[in-house]
Chain length 438, copies 2
């Protein structure tokens, strides 16, 4: 029999995982099936099916139950199989700049818990993983079964290498104008930070998938948030940095080198301000929280923090509204250009700047209406993000569910089990708590 | 036994197609396998495998052969199965404005022939399908076996509806400035032209997949052309119109409404010329062949046709070179913006304007170098298209191979077997022979 344990990577390992996914999918759709029914539905041979079911039962993904005595007829009772509703199939961890967020889902893909803990910006990876471990432990006291943990998804700030099991580092550039140097340090920047991956694998002994937390937040919005159920989503985060993400056909989009979603670095002012990425006039230089506050001051405003600025917006201050009108128009034009290229059904805006509400969204809508190709113009829906700070952790779970629901069965070679291409982030991506760490 | 003939659509039909694909894939990788070996490699039960193999043999996709007598041992000789090298698995037809192009591949996905025939621009669908039929017949005299035909891919000019088995129409707008009206006729434009689909189905009795021929050319370049083997490709066609396409993860990208790849309608000049799409200042208004000739005349040039203009470029005429410098910079900036969003590995430029060579490509490269986010800057490769006029037909085949290699086994409900979402085109897309038809 091929595909025997120990499982192999390569075509046979993939084939086996495909069979496992088929069995889980049939149980997800039918609820409860006997082995005989599973065999007929799946087309798998008895031997293969026995083997697959044994593994899934061993891993806690499915459970076996005998029928109630009253229902038994002659002969041996027919056992039935169901998904294990208590199995914590995956957890997601978002290592934001100043907090760790954790969430978990069961094998039915229902979110069964989440937890957060803030920390100082400069905390090391060991300490941050300790926090994650503690938070996961809290969840495990409830519905989570660590024994059935299949994989961990992780969100981080900063670029992530394409290919292989690399991680991320707290990026070397700041959000306040330091140049990262164009290309010389690309390799260095993409090659760092296996550290959180190694620490998490040592702690939990399961495969770890990693991506940028802004892109994961995009995936989360498309899975559980403002664009739940939509297959093609364009996501833009307007925070201390400006970053983005794309969901294409229901999956996180990465591009050839893991370098997609860099919406904050689309040039909007050829002779504009210097951007953190090294270029000039990027969207981030006009649409970040800092840039908006600068523009407001330049227009005579006095707000030096976002809450004060938002209060001016609320009060109808013409200078504040004028700034948002101009910024919203720029944002809408960039979104329209990307829309014309990728045709999303939904655009999700997130980040602190969206707290400005209609004063921001209306000019964005107007610019979309003017610049999106007429055939698509009234088909694209602009929405405010729904998940906020939990987005990264939920997106990390979504990553696991989308890309490796059964990776934990192959713990021997977690790196090989990872998708061939990994991901990157906007160099200027910044979540609410993502100011530069030392 | 579930999954018995007649085949059903829905989950069971998909499951069966999955099994068929698995068997074909194993034969593609291993070359020659016995039924026993196929069973072990696939994990399928004897009953299921017998059924699948019988169907594939009946359809001509695979052939059964006994070993040479010298190799026979005691007992019944073991039959082996291979792909049928002579089976014409799919054909592609590109209904361009003034020609029909046809190509065919065998079950091993090798192109086994192609043919073209020009016609007047105003020809009706019946006559164009007659031409296609004749061209297919020519191929069938060679290596193509119509009995093993699985599906037909079709490329057309103009928008294609999302969902269902709709087709396309010769679009109502021209490439010379007529407004299509913004949104009022969207539905009308997307709902037309089941005609070529119905005619082709009646003629060949197999499912027909349809998409815009510019986008199909993008897929063809990623399959057999300048970006062969690349998974993430951005394609821009600079012709009498300007259109584009995206290949994401090896598949044709469509977007939520089938409205993606509209690169020609990204706005580059807010106060620019009126575009055929109804907006102003689109890339097409500066980068189409007509726009380039206009700009050259405005700069004192006298070339009123592309060949004359290209001769001026060749001769080093400063006015002609200056026009291409400006146009190339605009093109590069738009490509850079889209690059930052979708992170392609390769950009392919096609269309007549690319005959200008370095005078066009160099400014495009420079703009890409300036505007692509630094981390990705030197990873994106700009290339000239390789397939030219055959691209649409080859892309139509690639569509079939990517999305429905086995659709012909389900002829009863070809519409249901089509992908849920279909595609659209740039309203201003125009291939070399795609000037407006009456």
């Amino acid at each position: 029999m091929l595909c025997r344990m120990p499982p192999q990577e390569g075509p046979l390992g993939r084939l086996r995982r495909g069979h496992e996914e088929l069995v889980l999918d049939l149980l997800r759709r039918h609820g409860r099936l006997s082995r005989g029914e599973l065999g007929r539905h799946s087309g798998l041979s008895r031997t293969t099916l026995y083997d697959i079911v044994a593994t899934l039962v061993h891993d806690g993904a499915i459970v076996v139950s005998a029928p109630a005595p009253a229902l038994r007829r002659r002969g041996r009772p027919v056992e039935t199989l169901t998904l294990n509703p208590h199995a914590g199939q995956a957890i997601g961890i978002d290592f934001a700049r100043r907090a760790v967020h954790v969430a978990a889902v069961n094998v039915a893909h229902e979110v069964i818990g989440s937890a957060s803990e803030p920390h100082d910006a400069g905390l090391g990876w060991q300490e941050r993983v300790d926090i994650a471990d503690r938070l996961v432990g809290k969840l495990a006291e409830g519905a989570l079964r660590l024994g059935a943990l299949n994989a961990i998804g992780v969100g981080v700030v900063g670029p992530v290498a394409d290919g292989g099991g690399t991680g991320s580092e707290p990026p070397s550039r700041t959000g306040t104008g330091s140049s990262q140097g164009a290309d010389g340090d690309t390799a260095r920047r993409l090659r760092h930070s296996d550290e959180p991956l190694a620490l998490l694998r040592a702690r939990f002994d399961v495969p770890v998938l990693l991506d940028n937390n802004t892109r994961l937040a995009a995936l989360a919005e498309a899975t559980w948030g403002a664009a739940a159920g939509d297959q093609d989503v364009l996501y833009l985060r307007l925070s201390h940095g400006v970053g983005g993400g794309l969901v294409v056909g229901g999956s996180l989009h990465r591009g050839a080198w893991g370098l997609s979603g860099e919406l904050g670095h689309i040039r909007v002012e050829p002779a504009g301000r210097r951007c953190s990425c090294g270029a000039t006039g990027c969207l981030e230089t006009v649409a970040s929280v800092g840039a908006v506050l600068d523009a407001h001051r330049a227009a005579g405003g006095e707000a030096d923090q976002l809450p004060a600025f938002l209060a001016r917006v609320e009060a109808g201050d013409p200078a504040a509204l004028g700034v948002l009108e101009a910024v919203g128009t720029r944002i809408g034009s960039v979104l329209a250009a990307v829309c014309n290229a990728v045709g999303p059904g939904v655009i999700v805006l997130s980040g602190e700047l969206t707290q400005a509400g209609a004063a921001l969204f209306e000019p964005v809508e107007r610019a979309l209406g003017a610049d999106v190709v007429p055939l698509a113009r009234h088909r694209v829906d602009l929405r405010k993000a729904a998940l906020n700070e939990a987005g990264g952790a939920l997106g990390a779970i979504a990553l696991v569910l989308h890309e490796s629901p059964l990776l934990s069965r192959y713990p021997a070679r977690p790196d090989a089990a990872r998708p061939a291409r990994s991901a990157s982030t906007s160099p200027a991506d910044a979540s609410p708590d993502s100011e530069e760490t030392p």
